[in-house]
Symmetry: D2
Subunit: 108 residues, 4 copies
Amino acid sequence: MDFKELERRLVEFRDARGWRKYHTPKNLAISAAVELGELLEHFQWESDGEILEAVKESGKKEAIADEIADVVIYLTLLAHELGIDLSEALERKIEKNGRKYPVGVTSD
Amino acid sequence: MDFKELERRLVEFRDARGWRKYHTPKNLAISAAVELGELLEHFQWESDGEILEAVKESGKKEAIADEIADVVIYLTLLAHELGIDLSEALERKIEKNGRKYPVGVTSD
Amino acid sequence: MDFKELERRLVEFRDARGWRKYHTPKNLAISAAVELGELLEHFQWESDGEILEAVKESGKKEAIADEIADVVIYLTLLAHELGIDLSEALERKIEKNGRKYPVGVTSD
Amino acid sequence: MDFKELERRLVEFRDARGWRKYHTPKNLAISAAVELGELLEHFQWESDGEILEAVKESGKKEAIADEIADVVIYLTLLAHELGIDLSEALERKIEKNGRKYPVGVTSD
């Protein structure tokens, strides 16, 4: 799946249910934050080692994958409402990051 | 760009800079939350109407697009570290949502 | 209740349950973010008018109050772990804000 | 400082600047999330040990304290707008937690 296809499917899904009226920029941004909170819940009390161990179990891995997907879904819908081409935005941001942090010059 | 290509480019970018050691699950999840906070800043004091008006200006639109891209970038890197196929996760989540909210049965 | 009393009670509560080992700075900051996500859930699809109407119902008001309290609880525990006096921090921040935004000079 | 005093000072501060019109429930909740994002930024790439070391330096400690204060400030203003008594909400939540996690019965 690419970003265009994801956007198309999400908008179609939403319009088939008459939900567009709820999809204001603020509501969608809040929704992304709600889902990110649910994602963080999986990392709340566990160490990085425990998390990496836990995702070997498929149920846990799927639960975390679902939360990541939910955030991406709301961000895609938000981008759609604002007329933002997410694929293009990612290209541009990666390029900007490349200029900001040239290889071999980083403080690392 | 599709999700596989995005993941490949981000991992390559990171490894060229020796940043993998910082990319623990908790750090990446926190990073996604930091960027989402920066995205929310654009919606803090403006109404939905004002936001939709503001993105007609290309600088504002690009600033918001950059923040959305940053969240997606960190989520893609997080999925990578956890062995999650983001494209597959999105497919599965859309399918789950379709079963949870069948067309014509929603309360809307 | 003042901030010192809140801190004292929360630390006592935690220590009586042997939870200190989980209360690292990152875990407590993540926990505050998780609870803030739950707070945002109450504002996800409703307009400001609907929210103000909904809190007239005591169950809804208590549910939101619980989430606000949860965030404040985790922030108080985080401040405790970092040796931060929250009451003093609030005094200083209000004073800084007063210098930053003098009355009668704001753009409003 | 106690919660009543904090609330009184923040409302006075805001009203002196004519900012009440911006203080809708959604805007204040988003603002709390923005500030929590800024707090998380301090924990983004550092380990717990590094954070505890860093706050020994007073500038870093004050920077983190400022962000914690900012979140508490917006939550207090949100509680005010919703008619929630934050001190009472904290009392009730601590009591609920005590019933939910009785001493000596926790799984720890």
